[in-house]
Subunit: 193 residues, 2 copies
DNA sequence: ATTATTCGGAACCAATCGGTACACAAAGGA
DNA sequence: TCCTTTGTGTACCGATTGGTTCCGAATAAT
């Protein structure tokens, strides 16, 4: 009954995510997005309403992909010791940098940027970080050294580790030297050991 | 021999800092800055060359003021236990939020933003964070529990604490609930105790 | 008083911003 | 086949961006 889309919406969101991830929300211009997504203004606005709505979709996508991957790792029973799962998460972040990815974490970049003045973005960021916190909490329950912490204390430790994660990834984005990042990760390991 | 400035440069930089602190580098428009600083385009460009140069000046000013205050606290012999100094720094950050200041840390915002693509800004951010790290390192030397760590391990712990600080302040900027921030600070206290 | 010099202010600039309007293309239902 | 509906592409929009130019005003040295 009507002309079908010639592009895949999910693919387009995925590509938009790459653009936002690199340039940040405000730093990504419409032309940047159009080129990265491989479509024209008409299509973008028809399918995604406007830039902010697209960004919210991208944040959802990021949660369902990057955050989800992290949570999967944090809850992976294949690694019996939960502290090791947490360390794997931090080590992965470090390795991303050494392998050339200095974009940090999209959620963290959004936290420092548009979530300051936009409630919906702030809410999405908060949701994503909350998911990470819960994942860490589950991992801590599987850590011999932390399993019998009081739930409130364990949860507080998880909050601290989320902050640690954010700081680490923000430092990566600022191109802080890898030695410093390595040190920070190492110290987290000492703390959890 | 020539007409003198009718405004004080340091005062102008201080006011510019407030604007950048609130809106971030890219988010602060020229009109924002002009209004906040109380001068016109002609004066601003005559005195500060351009927006980026002004921002670098602002970062210097921030280092000489906010960062310096933090380092002073971290090295304050009036608090004999260095771990307590560090906790005072984190507690101050938390209190800033409860008192209504959700702007976070200018350095951290710059880290997530323009330092990604501008080398000079990245360098200034790195320098400021390095100063904090050194301050924390000094504090750790004055902590009975950490004084006899190997210097490399102590330094690594300081790096971790800087990341923790960045994460905490970035979360504050994203308006994460104060309970979470409180938890994170509390856990840092447990770790250092 | 004259002059050299810099300041402050406003007009102005091209470029870019996010977003809209509209004509055309494509597809399925009648 | 025609018509309705929706996607696509392009031209266009006003607003805003950071930055420049230029002129009158102010000041200090001569």
């Amino acid at each position: 009954m009507a002309r079908p889309r010639t592009f895949d919406t999910d693919e387009a969101v995925e590509k938009a995510m790459q653009v936002f991830w690199t340039h940040g929300y405000e730093g990504a211009s419409l032309p940047d997005l159009l080129e990265g997504m491989g479509l024209t203004r008409g299509s973008l606005y028809k399918a995604f309403t406007d830039k902010k709505t697209l960004f919210l979709k991208v944040l959802d996508h990021y949660e369902g992909k990057a955050v989800r991957a992290g949570v999967d790792l944090l809850t992976d029973p294949g690694i019996p010791n939960g502290a090791e799962r947490i360390m794997a998460m931090f080590t992965n972040s470090y390795r991303a940098v050494t392998e050339g990815d200095q974009r940090g974490c999209l959620l963290c970049t959004a936290a420092a940027g548009p979530s300051t003045y936009d409630d919906e973005i702030a809410e999405a960021v908060s949701r994503g970080l909350g998911a990470m916190r819960d994942g860490i909490d589950v991992a801590l329950q599987a850590s011999p050294k932390h399993a019998d912490l009081k739930p409130s204390a364990r949860r507080a430790l998880a909050d601290m580790l989320v902050a640690q994660y954010m700081g680490l990834r923000t430092m990566a984005r600022a191109r802080i030297d890898t030695e410093t990042l390595r040190n920070a990760v190492r110290s987290v390991g000492v703390m959890l050991a």
